[in-house]
């Protein structure tokens, strides 16, 4: 994989760690955006667009839709920057905008299932047997993911793939910590069950 997702790859995957250490100057940049500073806005865009795209892509399943969602989310930041409380972390506030917009877009487009994954990104296995097994696992897991309630799916993705900490997810989705934990537990139970037949090969 190229370095384009270096930010996501650098995410510390341990409990309590945040997905990405919130840069100290986020608040100053947000203040700059409030005053109409184009350079401050561009810095925030550059800082968050990769992670935003990764989240958006998993929600929308289409590259173009994901790009549109990221663009819309940044525009929403401009519209709503006056509601951003100085002193609070920027990332959960921004991803709340992104995720809510993504959920609404999916609802309006009836995109319950994510479209087929391009072969170029799916092909990892060196042997046809291995690839066939992966394809089967992928299909199985996709079916399991499709049975999850929308929010549950988003929670497990944000936690396991994007590296967000539980409290950050609670802030993004505007739900309690306990609700996040419960959804996470339920989602994992469902996915583990779907994965059980493949654990041997893993």
């Amino acid at each position: 994989m190229s370095g384009a997702f270096g930010v996501a790859a650098a995410i510390p995957l341990h409990r309590g760690a945040t997905a990405q250490a919130a840069p100290d100057d986020d608040a100053a940049l947000a203040e700059g955006v409030r005053a109409g500073d184009a350079a401050a806005f561009d810095t925030l865009v550059n800082r968050y667009m990769r992670r935003a795209f990764a989240v958006a892509y998993r929600m929308m399943g289409q590259k173009e839709d994901a790009e549109d969602l990221v663009q819309e989310a940044f525009m929403a930041v401009l519209q709503r920057i006056d509601t951003f409380e100085a002193g609070r972390p920027f990332a959960p506030w921004f991803f709340r905008i992104l995720v809510n917009r993504g959920l609404n877009a999916r609802k309006s487009r009836s995109l319950r299932t994510v479209e087929a994954i391009p072969e170029s990104t799916a092909a990892h296995g060196p042997s046809p047997e291995r690839e066939a097994e992966r394809t089967e696992l992928r299909g199985h897991l996709r079916s399991a993911l499709d049975t999850l309630p929308e929010r549950q799916r988003v929670i497990v993705e944000l936690f396991e793939l994007e590296g967000f900490a539980g409290p950050e997810i609670a802030e993004i989705l505007e739900i309690s910590d306990g609700t996040v934990r419960w959804h996470l537990h339920e989602a994992r139970k469902t996915l583990k069950k779907a994965l059980a037949p493949y654990e041997r090969s893993a």
């Binding site: 995957l13 309590g16 109409g36 806005f41 795209f53 892509y57 696992l137 992928r138 893993a202």
Partner: protein
């Protein structure tokens, strides 16, 4: 408070397999599109900023008027009349009476010695 579960690398790997990695996109183009779309709203924000100082704008003409009035007063104030010969003489008399002449200091007994001591700081 109940702790969150540990992240599960196996589940994360399976999810990555299921979703595939996000595709490569032209980040510069995306950034450029966002910047282009943001241009107008940002300009509006920049334009809106001076509104915060708008109440103070009323003070600017007041300050300018005060400055002009001050300058006009200074220019139109009658000038001091020049000293007359009698005034000059009076001033000289006062100065002579209160200030010892330099020649007194130098020619007084021991005057040069005192001056030298004062200059050397001893």
């Amino acid at each position: 408070m109940e702790a969150y579960p540990e992240r599960d690398p196996q589940l994360a790997a399976a999810l990555r397999t299921a979703y595939g990695d996000p595709p490569e996109i032209d980040w510069t183009a995306l950034r450029g599109r966002v910047a282009a779309q943001a241009e107008l709203p940002l300009a509006r924000r920049r334009h809106a900023q001076p509104r915060r100082w708008r109440p103070l704008r009323a003070l600017v003409p007041l300050a300018a008027a005060a400055g002009i009035a001050g300058a006009a007063f200074a220019l139109t104030r009658p000038a001091e009349p020049p000293l007359t010969q009698a005034d000059r003489q009076q001033v000289e008399q006062i100065l002579n009476a209160t200030t010892p002449a330099l020649s007194d200091l130098v020619t007084a007994p021991g005057g040069s010695e005192e001056l030298l001591s004062a200059a050397l700081g001893s």
